[in-house]
């Protein structure tokens, strides 16, 4: 018995250095960054070994969201939202499509799989460098149509200043409430078939009320800014989105392919015997069964799109206003402008956005492990 408890102690002591490292380097550092973001650390003395820091509360955050000079950060944040949505849609859509094609077991499946997955092994700097050349305004992708007898394109892939879907930052609160209402109603409609009462009471009702409130009372809401400031989906980001989808579609393909292979042949044959067509088999049997994989893919991809730094850096350089991203802004603010406190605040904003995906995911995995 004493032997056993000594072994337990040894086990714990083996783990201890890692626990301490994670505690300090992950949790301690996050706490430290939160603290830094509430100070005024920056300016000429910023790089001193013991720089002067004064506590200023949430001023850095307030400035980021409605300061006169922070319009760039706000556009970066809007960019990040579009990057995430487009990367999710693109990489999951294309990856799933390729996985379904390869699931038909075509000849040369192995080679094809290798072709679709190789971008995943490349560094973002490598793929960004190559894509920058591919998207050069007078060459690359733009001249491809001439080989088929069409005119060359003249789209400015990474430097276009056009934006679509613009909105006024002054109304950001109203817009956020609309989005919340939209999500509530969407979830409500989705659940309507299964449990109509709960769907109406929990989701649809509140959704309609919140939406109506934003619509009728919109003018009563405080404006986030004292002047008009337009933000939208910058078309210059399209090139970066295409390059990222190119790099990560193979990843979701691998996830789905592993999932499809895990579905037993019996189940598949049964679905076919019941007269399900291929389309229906994927739509009603295979893809719903792979919901955990879809959730994993959403988590990993949104995590990647929130820290997208390397590929934008390689494709446009760190300070291209049209294709900015908070992760780049954080780097420029901290290490080029030496404004550490503001950089920390940007990092915390990124962290909080990432946390809304990651925390529920990690907790649900924890619960599963405890059950299983």
């Amino acid at each position: 018995m004493r032997e056993a408890s000594r072994d337990r102690l040894k086990a714990f002591l083996t783990l201890l250095p890692s626990i301490i490292l994670i505690a300090v380097f992950v949790y301690g550092f996050i706490g430290n960054t939160i603290w830094i973001s509430m100070t005024d650390w920056g300016g000429s003395g910023a790089l001193a070994f013991d720089p002067q820091k004064n506590f200023i509360g949430l001023d850095n955050y307030v400035d980021l969201f409605n300061g006169f000079l922070s319009a760039g950060f706000r556009q970066d944040l809007v960019n990040a939202v579009y990057y995430s949505l487009m990367l999710l849609a693109g990489a999951i859509g294309l990856g799933m499509f390729i996985a379904i094609l390869l699931d038909q077991k075509p000849k040369g499946e192995d080679v094809l799989r290798t072709i679709f997955l190789y971008p995943m092994s490349l560094s973002f700097i490598v793929s960004g460098t190559i894509w920058r050349w591919l998207l050069a305004p007078q060459g690359g992708v733009n001249v491809l149509p001439t080989y088929f007898g069409f005119d060359a394109l003249d789209f400015q892939w990474t430097s276009s200043t056009k934006a679509i879907l613009e909105f006024n930052w002054q109304n950001i609160l109203q817009i956020l409430i609309y989005i919340a209402a939209f999500i509530l109603i969407l979830v409500g409609l989705f659940l309507l078939k299964g449990d109509p009462q709960k769907a109406v009471k929990r989701w649809l009702g509140p959704g309609v009320v919140v939406g109506a409130f934003a619509w009728l009372g919109g003018s009563l809401l405080p404006q986030a800014l004292f002047m008009e400031e337009m933000h939208g989906f910058n078309l210059a980001t399209l090139g970066i989105i295409i390059a990222t989808v190119w790099q990560y579609a193979g990843y979701t393909m691998a996830l789905y392919l592993a999932g499809f292979n895990g579905i037993s042949q019996d189940l598949r044959d049964a679905a076919m015997l019941d007269g399900a067509s291929s389309t229906n088999y994927y739509r009603y049997v295979a893809i719903p069964m792979l919901k955990p994989i879809t959730i994993s893919a959403v988590i990993i991809l949104s995590h990647i799109s929130l820290k997208m730094f390397d590929i934008i850096f390689a494709m446009t350089g760190p300070d291209n206003a049209q294709t900015g991203h908070p992760a780049l802004n954080m780097y420029m603010t901290t290490f080029r402008a030496n404004d550490f406190a503001r950089g920390a605040a940007i990092a915390i904003v990124l962290f909080l956005v990432a946390g809304t995906f990651i925390v529920p995911y990690v907790i649900s995995q924890y619960k599963q492990r405890r059950k299983g």
């Binding site: 714990f12 994670i22 460098t129 491809l144 691998a254 390397d310 992760a327």
Partner: protein, 278 residues
């Protein structure tokens, strides 16, 4: 579908192979462009003819780019080997404890580890920079190695934990009854069984560390910059003709690409381990 007949050209199979062909072209397009451009003479690189094959191959770009990236490649080699070895060994020990020596709260500790895998690294960058500076590790490779080892712990521990959970607990129990202790069970039973685990984990870590950029650019001085930073600088210069960045890209991609092509099976296992639950 396995039930479809292998013979005959049906509209379905035309559509299937047609789509796959177009998609494969799209995925190979950047690789083609990189190779073609790298093999051109700088004087013959122009935007309108970017897609065309070079009239004669110019292999000089590769030695030239290698000369420029030599010290970066050396840094990345040292960095990758050291950080991979350390984080893999630690991950193996952690995975062993997490799967075979569970204690009260070990699942919670494991979950707290995992969380470290998903944070945007910007959120720890400033304290990391400060800490390394205070430890006199800023600017060189040891600091960068430390960062990669620490933040690699979550994923390596995860892969090994999942790997070791396949080893029957009865095996460990009977060894304990025979009087084997914590370390002798590890060295005599668990470690010999975990060679595939080491392959998967170290391939994954090699890929991640070789490809990493943010810490490289924020935490090292010019003379210790890893390959990604060297390549970004090579490509970022306005005056450089495109054959050099392309040759550099190919050289930077080659080690991981080789791993992927020849050991793809293990690579995909690492890929799946990072995302799909056990």
């Amino acid at each position: 579908m396995s039930t479809t007949q292998k013979s005959g050209i049906t509209p379905g199979s035309v559509l299937l192979y047609g789509s796959l062909f177009v998609l494969a072209l799209f995925f190979l397009m950047p690789a083609y462009m990189a190779i073609v451009t790298a093999l051109k003479d700088p004087a013959n690189i122009s935007l309108p003819t970017a897609w065309e094959l070079p009239e004669k191959f110019n292999w000089q770009s590769f030695p030239h780019a290698f000369e420029l990236l030599k010290s970066n490649i050396a840094s990345s080699l040292i960095l990758t080997v050291c950080a991979t070895a350390l984080s893999t060994v630690l991950g193996s020990l952690n995975g062993y404890v997490f799967s075979k020596w569970k204690f009260k709260g070990s699942e919670l500790v494991f979950t707290l580890f995992l969380f470290g895998m998903f944070i945007p690294y910007q959120v720890i960058l400033i304290p990391l920079f400060q800490t390394l500076r205070a430890m006199n590790l800023y600017g060189g490779l040891p600091g960068l190695i430390l960062a990669h080892v620490v933040y690699g712990l979550p994923i390596t521990s995860l892969i090994f934990r999942n790997f070791y959970s396949q080893i029957p607990t009865a095996l460990v129990e009977s060894a304990r009854l025979d009087g084997a202790g914590f370390f002798s069970i590890y060295t005599k039973i668990v470690f010999p069984l975990s060679i595939p685990g080491f392959v998967v984990t170290s391939l994954w870590q090699v890929t991640q560390i070789w490809n990493e950029f943010l810490w490289g650019i924020c935490l090292t001085r010019h003379e210790d910059n890893p390959i990604t930073v060297g390549l970004a600088q090579l490509a970022g210069g306005q005056a450089v003709s495109w054959n050099l960045p392309m040759a550099g890209s190919i050289m930077a991609a080659l080690p991981v690409l080789m791993i992927y092509i020849f050991l793809g099976r293990y690579f995909i296992r690492g890929l799946l381990a990072g995302s799909v639950k056990e």
